[in-house]
């Protein structure tokens, strides 16, 4: 069963984002931007409807998969709103949205892999062969994918790094298959040496993939 903590979390998040869009609506009214007035009004009311759907699903004892469907719909809609850069909540939780991204990490590292030869933007003029064959890593970001092998797993050993050796502020964790959010350090998990201890408000299940990223100097 989905925990009450998680449902409250989803509801509160939805309410806070709805209030944020109401603020944007009042701003749009002030400048008289009719397109945005309509867009924000529509978004606010859709979120309100989704919020009530989740509330009622819990109230009327819908089953777990139906509730998860609604949560998924809420997240899908919020993601589609394209207001990420304007909502404080997202700017802290989705740094990649407001930065240039690449596949290896949330930030493009523009420093030259071949130090000393690049220009000030980090472009060293090479044809990229050394990057393609893997002799030089593209960025300072590293990642590791771990597939969960048992339901309720809380200990993930053998990470490819030792927490004492990396900048802890750069460690980002994402659970694929269930929660599209980054789980914040100190909130949903903690790491001792090279072992991760999971204590988030939902359980990991078989088949979920934990993607962890960190940055080396």
């Amino acid at each position: 069963m989905i925990s009450t903590t998680r449902i409250n979390y989803e509801l509160l998040r939805c309410i806070n984002i709805r209030y944020k869009i109401i603020e944007l609506y009042t701003d749009a009214i002030l400048i008289g931007h009719i397109t945005y007035i309509h867009k924000y009004a529509k978004d606010v009311m859709t979120l309100y409807a989704l919020e009530k759907a989740l509330y009622n699903a819990v109230y009327y004892n819908f089953n777990q998969s139906e509730i998860e469907d609604i949560i998924y719909k809420i997240r899908e809609y919020i993601n589609a709103l394209d207001i990420n850069s304007r909502v404080d909540y997202f700017t802290t939780r989705y740094p990649s949205v407001i930065c240039i991204t690449d596949d290896n990490g949330p930030y493009v590292d523009t420093s030259s892999p071949d130090s000393g030869t690049g220009d000030e933007d980090g472009y060293d003029g090479s044809d990229g062969d050394d990057l393609k064959d893997g002799t030089i890593p593209l960025t300072n970001w590293r990642s590791q994918m771990i597939t969960i092998s048992e339901n309720g797993q809380t200990v993930i050993p053998n990470l490819n790094f030792n927490i004492g050796d990396v900048d802890i502020d750069t460690v980002l964790l994402e659970v694929q298959g269930d929660d599209p959010d980054y789980t914040t350090t100190g909130n949903g998990y903690h790491i001792i040496e090279n072992t991760l201890y999971w204590h988030n408000f939902y359980d990991l299940k078989i088949g979920m993939v934990v993607k962890i990223r960190w940055r080396v100097e």
Partner: protein, 181 residues
């Protein structure tokens, strides 16, 4: 000098406001002779209402956390419904004396009239609504009211909160006037 800490309870059912000291350290004062309570609105250089407490019974009531100073809306605002505003409360103890103490600022909003206007407007609605603008207008008024209720909760004053409150309020006020309810 420490600041005066206090809390307020706005009771919409009994139409009262209770103002209570919240564990202020008065050790720097020889005695409390005067407590001035200021209610301010949009213009912070003026006050809407000033309550001066200088009798020992009321001063004791203010300091007693289980009692507090209880005022009816009628006695403060001259009406059983506070006029719509975003109120900021400040307390000055022993004002004008050498040991004068200022307080933190608390704020709350009142939205009685605008709620009434929105609800009256909704009652006069002609259904079915067949244009998008009217539909969004009615829908957003209810949303804005909910949002304003959230912003109207008693809490420490912040300029940001006041601006948001006034923006939402002005929007409802202007549009309901436009619709001439």
């Amino acid at each position: 000098m420490s600041e005066v800490k206090f809390k307020i309870e706005v009771d919409g059912d009994n139409k009262t406001i209770t103002i209570i000291d919240d564990g202020t350290d008065y050790s720097g004062l020889s005695s409390i002779n005067l407590i001035n309570i200021y209610f301010r609105g949009e213009d912070k250089t003026k006050y809407i209402k000033k309550l001066s407490i200088n009798d020992s019974a009321n001063i004791s009531a203010f300091l007693n956390e289980s009692v507090g100073l209880v005022y009816t809306f009628e006695s403060i605002f001259g009406s059983e419904f506070p006029p719509d505003n975003f109120y900021q409360l400040e307390i000055v103890v022993n004002e004008g004396e050498a040991d004068q103490m200022l307080s933190q600022r608390l704020a709350f909003g009142s939205t009685y009239r605008i709620e009434e206007v929105v609800h009256r407007g909704t009652l006069s609605l002609h259904v079915p609504i067949n244009d998008l603008y009217t539909s969004l207008h009615y829908g957003m008024n209810a949303q804005l009211l909910e949002y304003m209720e959230k912003l109207s909760t008693v809490a420490v004053y912040s300029y940001d909160r006041e601006v948001k409150w006034r923006k939402a309020y002005n929007h409802i006020y202007n549009t309901t006037n436009d619709f001439d309810y």
